[in-house]
Each structure stands twice: as structure tokens, then as C-alpha cells.
Symmetry: C2
Subunit: 643 residues, 2 copies
Amino acid sequence: MAPVRITSTEEPLNKVNFTAPRPFTTTLKSDLKETFFPDDPFHDFKGKPFPVKAKKALKYFVPIFEWLPRYNRKLFMHDLLAGITIASLAIPQGISYAKLANIPPIIGLYSSFVPPLIYSVFGSSKHIAVGTVAACSLIIAATIEAKVNPVDNPQLYLNLVFTATLVSGVTQLILGVFRLGILVDFLSHSTITGFMGGTATLICLQQLKGILGLKHFTTHTDMVSVIRAIFKNRKEIRWESTVVGVVFLVFLQFTRFVKQKKPKLFWVSAIAPMVVVTSGCVFAYVAHAEKHGIAIVGHLNKGINPSSLKNLDFDPKYISAPIQAGLITAVIALAEGIAIGRSFAIMENEQIDGNKEMIAFGLMNIVGSFTSCYLTTGPFSKTAVNYNAGCKTQMTNVVMSMCMMLTLFFLAPLFGYTPLVALSAIIMSAMLGLIEYDKAYHLYKTDKFDFTICIIAFFGVAFISMDVGLMLSVGLALLRALLYVARPQSSKLGNIPDTYLYRDVEQYPGAIGVPKTLILQLGSPIYFANSGYLRERILRWVRDEKAKKDSQGDDVEYVLLDLGGVTSIDITGVETLTEICRSLEAKQIKVVIVNPRLEVMEKLTLTHFIDKIGRERVFLSIEDAIEGCKFSLSQPKGYGSEG
Amino acid sequence: MAPVRITSTEEPLNKVNFTAPRPFTTTLKSDLKETFFPDDPFHDFKGKPFPVKAKKALKYFVPIFEWLPRYNRKLFMHDLLAGITIASLAIPQGISYAKLANIPPIIGLYSSFVPPLIYSVFGSSKHIAVGTVAACSLIIAATIEAKVNPVDNPQLYLNLVFTATLVSGVTQLILGVFRLGILVDFLSHSTITGFMGGTATLICLQQLKGILGLKHFTTHTDMVSVIRAIFKNRKEIRWESTVVGVVFLVFLQFTRFVKQKKPKLFWVSAIAPMVVVTSGCVFAYVAHAEKHGIAIVGHLNKGINPSSLKNLDFDPKYISAPIQAGLITAVIALAEGIAIGRSFAIMENEQIDGNKEMIAFGLMNIVGSFTSCYLTTGPFSKTAVNYNAGCKTQMTNVVMSMCMMLTLFFLAPLFGYTPLVALSAIIMSAMLGLIEYDKAYHLYKTDKFDFTICIIAFFGVAFISMDVGLMLSVGLALLRALLYVARPQSSKLGNIPDTYLYRDVEQYPGAIGVPKTLILQLGSPIYFANSGYLRERILRWVRDEKAKKDSQGDDVEYVLLDLGGVTSIDITGVETLTEICRSLEAKQIKVVIVNPRLEVMEKLTLTHFIDKIGRERVFLSIEDAIEGCKFSLSQPKGYGSEG
């Protein structure tokens, strides 16, 4: 069974594949495919007749055609329950987050009616429950407030919010159509953890306004301004409001605690916000709360979403604000929605296509912006509730939507009595759940750089502003990505005794060196950003090895470069390899190349590097190379001394 | 001699090193060292007594202490000849490039006096000849002209040029001291080729002003404006000037042609500009050229550099222009100077330290800005002449400097007669040599992406502006760097018959698959920017392999991930690996890890990934892993069927 090695001198030692490089169009096509279609979504289509293809395409692009034909009553019973559960969460959250965005509360309810319907048609995740999110609401408010005051000019402000939603939708659609999901990849988990934590902290502090019953506050979103505003207006604090707020908050946190202890009782915390809102309404109505300094939401109109097509405002004077808000929230909403959709899909061993999700999110926000909705996505909390409530298909979003419609037609005015302090308690409680201390601690324990990226996002958001914090963190993550490639690891290999294996001598201290030879393993692509470094590093390896061997009475005659881990190389990289060869040649050291991969081999052939050093200096394995050095390359010296 | 493999079941198959990760401070120290001191400049210092260390440090930081003690008469004879040759080039180039920067021509001569002296003390390259460069002269002019008109306010303009030089010098010094040579690494050869080509084209077109004898012209530097300006002012064209210009240009190009045919005659083209200037002066003096529409340089003062300390202008009204010009030219000058110094050092099998060169360039520009000089570096052309003229040490710069001093004391007024058209011809001829068609063609042939980077730089510079062109090209190169890591190559391995080797089946079509097993080789670091892609790609490999094996009546039971080429991994990467394991586990497929490198192993241990999948699933080599899959992992099935 044991494979036989060919080391006899009769056989050619060197079996490296030197065939001609693939034509440019082939490699370009393959590169483009890897960049934009890594999951090969159309793999099922090959060789099928046109009608089958068309049907498959329809099912691919409009997933409802995939699942609806197989839908049955049993599935519906599950979805009905889950749908009602998330609807009970959608009402208080909708009103709360709309207040966070400084827009009329009814817009929050509208936003849970139309977008879920659109998502149920085009969305591919079974678990996502569509809704508004706190972080994006706050970003929209902060960005548009800088141009238009929502108190002085509420209609213009609202119009710009709709415009921002349209910008978000179009951006998401474009990203999806051009399969630029890669952009979302650049928001790492560490960035998101830090950003969410920072935003949650900020929002919590802001909610002190509602809890304490303050009338005046700041429009800035950094921590210093918010804390200063609380101190400045401390004389406005109303004890009535504070007591009610604290009671609600304690209740909500308690239900959350119950859920953590007994995951089966998740519904307790899921309906808790609804309980808070209804009891708040009853309390406000009975106790005439407004007279005691507890403000309420105020009048809410009956009826479903009016058209907002005419409200979209592209006035060049203001357009920069909705564009900025739209672009940033588009990416954040995608990152949140796709991440949550994907993590539940993995639990169920399914796969969702990020690019298709982007199209679904884009369409839902575009339609939303025409029907008086603002930015929606698949929020963490709502989706988790949906999953726990046993959702089976996208139908849950339809059920939620229908519940919202009934609410809008019949119950909306009742929610006008909701005390603002109840909303603040709901937001605050939700936000406290988003600060993941343990995750940050885990990062600290395992990867200091990831921890730094996370902390920069947290403090950037908390102390400067949300977009600056996000950008700083992404910038740092990119810098790290560039450093990874600019300073790739290289290591010296030694033979592990009694095997043919060559491994890093630092990692396997038992590995022993080969006489007259230095074996180096490179990694990562070799190209302009790291070629200067690699040259210095390799020359340093050689210098150190020479110094060491000199003291042992040995000499370095060969440097073996193991390129097995090098995935690609550019022109500067090839030039650097040539320079290294020349420098070492002058020191009577021969460079030998081991196991170049396909792409690297193509580039080395095209640039005539292989011709320059000679084919006899390229080997398929380290052992071949060592044998080759002994026999063919240094025949005058080594001939006869071995086998 | 042939190493014996351990495959018997008595011995532990698994000899992977699972020892505890190194402490954070150790890895941080090692990372910092690799980032900033890849060449380990102080390796000689270890264990030496203090006085030796101090002496070595002095020699390290001030290279003149290294070479001057060993200097002798024979070396000096070589350096004298080379020094005089480059001085004869420095005079016409100095005057010409100063005109290009719209500053008095005498500044160009001053700039070849002080900076070479400073460089000869601190510089470590034996070949670099210090001088002004065309590209930076043009950038300085374009940037500062946007704030101050050099015709209306020549003194203020000149002061800002000195300030820009100071900014450049300080920037270079800081980059050198903090060992940020890594920044220069990001200017790839392709970017520089395109940028130089674009700048040269632009400058050539601009020189048509001088050759055609035009009086009015544009201050814009893009090609469209320049061509339009020529057409607009075509009535000002003077035939006398044009004839003289063409004659000079043909002469210069002819000497260049001679040099190309007979490299030994390099001195013909080296002294040609001086011939053009002197014959131009004589002609202008004799023929009263100014009366025939051939403008001359005008009065030049005798005497060496006056102090320009008081001229430095930090007025906040203008400061943005010198800062912008200073930063951009600092980096370009470094890139040019270091690249040329390095390439000649490699020819002589020496090594130069980029960071030390930066300090030398920085000091020379700082002192230059105090002594009426503008930006200098090691230009390609002058350094090549220096090398060909047989320079031996930095003494050539001292010789050139002395020649300039004599010129400034005695000959300067004579050069006042130089016709502007002669300068234009000199610049144009130099620039034509910088457009490297063949290099661009080579790029096109070997690497389309590098070619695109080059072409973007060329057209960006030619049609938009020099800094925009440069940034576009660098941006594209960075994007490529990010794509390299965002879409790392992965390949399926097969066994090469009769060996223990496993290689890419695409590259080695003879390699055969292993039953029930899919072997994948990953490469590059695994982290947030590519983990999403890798998940999709691996699942796709598995899907494709399943489809293929199904048709053969086989099944995939194991996925072997060869991590030998993965240099590092971050938290997101580890989470992705976990997700992949979970997804595949659900399909009854076991994931096995092969040969993780030191850094990767540390991260996998810290994050408890190894504990989760079990140590018995980590192997040192692919063969071990295959054996392991057969014996230990699937004992109920495989037990007894083999050996």
C-alpha cells in the first residue's frame, strides 16, 4: 500500500508541469467568476432546455415561486403563531424607533406593513423578520438634522427621510445586481460588535431624556454632549416620569432575564414590550398622565400607508444629507440583515445568497420609500424572536403585515396614548442587550488586533460620531488586511526525523536542518506591496543561516524557496525574485524553486523567469529538490560521494 | 538514505505540535520587528561592548565614517571623472528644471551645490547623483500656482517653493526615522512606469511653448489644456526659435541613439546638454538672438547660495499649497531615489537600507530649504550617468558640488545667455527617454492588471492631473492588493501516482483523487475580508465533488483542509471555519485540518477551535490525514479492511 518514491537517477527527478500558461481570457473569466459568483448560483442550469431554465431562473430570482407551491396548512399554523408574535413586537418597536428618527410614530407602523410583504416575495431567508432598526434610525436622524431641524420644519425633514430610504434601496439593489456583496465582507464581526455596542450605549444615554421626562435636549449624538445635556437640564427632571420609566425598564429586563434562564419562555420577553405599551396606554388614559408630566405619543391617524411618491425631495440644497444617510445606512442595514439571515440559515444547514438578499432588501426599501416607510432590514432581535417562535417560511412576514394592517385600520388611535417614557424604556432595554461585553472580552483574549478594531468602533461611535467611528474601524481593519499582505510570514523549514516532511523549525523544534541548504517557506501572494520586504527578509534568513553554519564548519550552497503557499505573484514580485537570485548567486548560493502553484507558474513562465534560472532548478517537492541539489546541480562536487 | 515513514498503527500517527501559544508580548514584539526592521539592521551589535556599539552606530547612521577612512587616491581619480561628468549634466538640467518649476534658474544651480554635500555625508548609496527632477518640479509648480501667480508675485511664489521643500524634507525624515519605508512599497513599478510616462508626455507637450517660442500659454497641466493653448496661440509661433529648437533636439536625440548603440560612448549623451547650452550661449551672444524672437534666460547673479531661512512662509492663507506639494513630492522623490539606488546596488551585489536613505534625503532637503534650494533627490538619468562614468563612492557628489561652486562663483553670468529654446530641447529630450513603451508592452504581455494600473496612471496624469493620476493608480493597486486577499485561490488536490505528493489537479491533470475524500488546499491569510468567500467556495467544492462522486457510486465522507499555505487567521476566519465544519457535519462529512502553521495553530488553540473538533482531527501531512481517516476516525467502518 505504501506509495513508492522515485529517486533513482534513471528516472527524471523533475516532473514539474511546465505547460504553456492558459490564455488571458480564460484566467480573466475564472477570476471574474471567483470574484462575483463564488457560490456559482447557476450551477443547476447547465445543459437544461430553455423552459426549464426559465422556470429555474424565475424560482431563483423570486423565491416565493420556490416555496409557495409546496406550502401547506401545517406550515401555516407555525407561521401564524410566529407572525403574531413578531407583530406584537413590531408595534412598540415601530413607534419607538420612529421617535428615535424624529419622525411621526405612525411611519414606524407603516414600515412594518409594506416592506415585509415585498420581502416575503423576493427574500430567500425563512427566518428574517423585517422591521426598522435603532442604529440606522439614529444615523438618519443625526445626518438629516444637520441640514433641517425636525421641529421647525417637520414636513421637509420627513421628505428627506423618505429620500434617504430611496437612496438606501437603490444602493442595495445596485450592490446586489452587480454582486458586490464583497463590500459587506469588509465590515468584520469585530467592527460590527464595536459599532453596535457604541450605538447602543449612545442610544441608552439618549433615552434618559424620555425616562427623566426632560423637555430640552441636545441634537448631538456623542456621549459628551448627551451627558452634558442631562446635567444642564437636570432641573426639568420629573420624578413621576422617572418612576414609571424605571418600573417599565425593570420589568423588561426581568423578562429578558427569564428568557436567558429558560430559553423556552422566550415569548415572555417577546410580548413584554407590547405589555408595556398597552399597560402604559391604559395607565395614561386612566391617570391623565399628561397632567403629571408624563408626555404621550399623541394623535395617530387610522388607515394604511398613503403614497409618498410626491414627498421625495431631490432639492440640490439638501440632497447631500439623504445621500450620505442613505449610503451609510444601506451598508449597515445589509450587514445586519445578511449576517443574521446567514447565521440562522447555518443553524438549519441551509445556505442563503447574500447578493440575492441585497436585491430583496433593495426592492423592499425602494417600494417602502414610495409608501411612507423608512429604512427597514432584518433586525437581530426581531429575527431571533421569529426563529424562536417557530417560523417555517417567509409567510410569517405576511402574517405580521396583515396584523399591522388591522392595527392601522382599527387600533392605531389607541396607541396614541402610549407614554413616551414607555417607549424610552423599550428602546433602552433592547439596546442593553446589544452591548456584548463577553464578545469583546473573547476578542481581547484571542486576538488583540480584532479587539482594537472593536474598541475603536465603540469609542469612535460613542465619542466622535457614528459614521466616523464606523469608518475609523473599517479603515483600521483594511490597514490590517494590507499589513497582512505587506508583511507575510516566512519560515525556515527542517526535516522531521524519520519522515519526508519538512516543517517550520520554530513550530517543530525537533526538525533538523539539511547540510549546505536553507529551506524557506513563503506564504501569501508576492507582489509590489511585500516584495521589498521579502527581499530583505530572505537575505536576512541567508545571512543568519550563514553565520550559524559558519560556526559549525558548514556552508550554505542552496536556498530552496517553497512557493506552495504562494497563491499569486505580480511583475514586481517576479522582478524581486530575479533580484534575490542575482544577489545570492553573487554569494555563490544557488536558488531553487519548489512547487509553484498554477497561477504563479504561469506568471513565472510568461516573464521568462523559469528560462532564466533554468528548468532544472524547479522541483515538485522539497525532497526532490534536495536530491536534485545533491546529484544534478553540483555534479563536480557531489558526484560519487553518494549512492 | 531514504527516510522511513511511520504508518504503523502502534505509533501515534498524529505528531502535530499542540503546545501552548506564545504570550501576546512575544508575538507583538516579533510582529513589530518584522514590520519595521525586516532587515535587522542592528544584528552586528549583539553582545558587543559599549564603545564598539557606539562606533558601529555612528558608522551606521553617518555612512561617511564608514567609507572615508578607507578612501584613497585611486578611488578619487574615478570619482573625480564621474563628478565632473555629472556636473556638466547638472548645470543645464538645473537651469531647465528650475524653469519648469517657474522659479529663477539660479535656484536650480544652487540646488546642485548644498544637497549633494549633505547626501555625501549621510547617504548610503555609492551611485546616487543628487539633483532636481522634472516630475517633482512640475508638481510643485502646478500646486503652488493654484494659490499664487509666479508672474505677479514671484517672491511669494519662491518662498512657498522653499516651504514646500522644507515640508518634503521633514516628511522624508519622519518616514525614515519611524521606518515607514513600507509606504514607498505601495508605489509599484507599474504605477511608477505609468506615472513617469504620463508626466514625460505632459512635460514634452509643455516644452512646445519654448520650442515654438510662444509668449502666452496655459498654467494647467493636463494634455487637453496644453494642446488647446498651442492652437490658441499658434499665431505667436516664431520660425527662428522652432528651427533652433528642432536642431538641438535632433542633436540630443542622436547622442542618445549613439549611447544606445554603443554603451561605451555614454559620455557623448552625458555631455550633450552642456554642449547644447554652451553653443546656445555663444550663438545667442553672437547673433543677438533676442532680437530674432529667441528669448534667453537673463541675468544670473554670481556667488553661492544665500540663506533662505527668512523666506520660509507659514502664512495660513497659503500654507495648504506647500503642504500638499511637499507631501506628494516627498513620496515621489523617495520612490525614485530609493528605487534607483537599490537597482544599482543590486548590480554591484550590495544592499542599501531604504529607511536610512529616507533620512539622508530628508536631511538634504531640510538643509536645502534653508539655503535657497528646492526639492532634490537621486534622479534616474543623472545616477545612471554617474554609474557609467565609473563612480566609486559618495565622493562624486562632493566633486559635483565643488564644480557647481566654481560655476556659481565665476561662470554663472555667462549662462544667462542660454536660449530658452535650448532648455526646452534638453527637457524634451530627457523626457522622451522616460516614456518606456517596451516596459508597458512587457506588462501588457505578462500581467494585464499591472498593465491597467500603469495605463491608469499614464492617462490620469496626462488628462486629469498629476496627483489625481497617481492616486487613481495607487488606489487601483491597493484594490488589487485587497482583492488578492479577498479572493484567495483554493484548489483541489490529488495524489500524483507513485509518490506521496498531493498537488492541484488542475495543474497536474495526472493527479488522482482519493476515495471518499476531498482534499482542498487554501492559501493566503483567512480573515474577515475573505472568510465569506471561502465558506461559499468550500461548500461549492464539496457540492461539485459530491455530484461527481455520486455519478461514480462513491460518496464524500471527509474534507481535508490543507492549511500549510495559510499564514494567519483572525476571529472571523475561525468562526467561518467553525461554520464550515457545522454545515458539512450536517451532511455527514467530517472536516480534517492538515498542517496549520505556527500563527494559525496558536489562534485555533486560543479560540478552542481545536478542542471543538478534537485533536485527532488535526494532522501534520495529507498522507497522515488520509491514513487517519481510514483507521482512527471511522473505525466501525474501516477497521480490518486494511493492513
